[in-house]
Symmetry: C2
Subunit: 179 residues, 2 copies
């Protein structure tokens, strides 16, 4: 951030009065520009014992598999966002049934909220964001071709829960990848 | 938003290629400025069967009661944010033990994540943000003087769960207040 989005003057980093973190503050109009973590919302679309995955048609991680997920938008609920992403990315109509995982990814300031979603019909399809969309039995999940560590962790726990026959909500932290 | 935070030129609202929502886009450098919901993270500090509430020393809702909560910051986990807010607002050291409630408030584009927090000691105190900080038995919660509908709803469910002897995670939506 270089300029004030309110008045267009340059901004400086300083700790505002009463605050304890540096913020971008406008040198002219004094507007404080906060930056906060973003919420990524998605779901695991379920059809019986199979789950629906998408192969990414966009960067980052072009060509790798993931669940439908994306940035939550203004004016929607988390559940609405999860269903919207499923419809946009995988052309699938899901009923969001429960929260499944909440993972913080502090090094990129994101929080993932992944729900379980019951597919209302077995209909799905590709989109501008997905090269392929496919139902997978748990034994066939492409573990080595998953797009993101948070998705790997979520699906790993999901398969464990499913094999135990009992689902719980998972909380966690995804650290930076080891170099 | 009037000006580009990257280059300082005016922005216009338009739907970028491949997108389906209007965004602020810079007329000069073409930077797209996304706006996304903010996460408010807090906890219910527990000391035996009592919970710790704070009376707000700041607007909005100056003078009304709430749990320690605030905007999640860059670079922290949700659990860290909840513990940090408890320390800042109520000078209380909590161990975050579980997620308790996730409420979307779409009309103000916020998602509240409220955890349960075990107070490590019975020590707490006021702060620049809290006029009073006090332990409450459930029967004494000041229902008519709570700051926000989302806090009212969360504590209402909490007291119900406690009286049933079984806690679950609550998901929900807080609609705009009826006029």
């Amino acid at each position: 951030m270089n300029f004030c989005s309110n008045c267009g003057a340059p901004v400086s980093q300083k700790v505002p009065p009463g605050d304890n973190l540096p913020r971008f503050v406008c040198d002219a109009c004094q507007a404080i520009h906060y930056e906060n973590p973003k919420i990524v919302v998605g779901c695991i679309p379920e059809w019986g014992e199979q789950i629906l995955l998408c192969r990414r048609a966009i960067e980052p991680k072009y060509g790798l598999w993931t669940v439908p997920a994306g940035f939550m938008e203004q004016g929607e609920t988390a559940e609405q966002a999860a269903a919207r992403e499923a419809l946009e990315e995988a052309k699938v109509d899901v009923e969001i049934t429960s929260l499944y995982a909440v993972f913080s990814i502090p090094h990129i300031s994101q929080v993932y909220m992944i729900f379980r979603g019951r597919m209302r019909t077995p209909s799905f399809g590709t989109s501008a964001e997905s090269l392929e969309v496919q139902l997978f039995k748990h034994a066939d999940i492409p573990w080595d071709s998953l797009a993101f560590p948070v998705i790997h962790e979520t699906l790993h726990r999901y398969v464990q829960d499913r094999s135990r026959g009992s689902f719980q909500i998972h909380l966690g932290v995804v650290p930076p990848k080891r170099k």
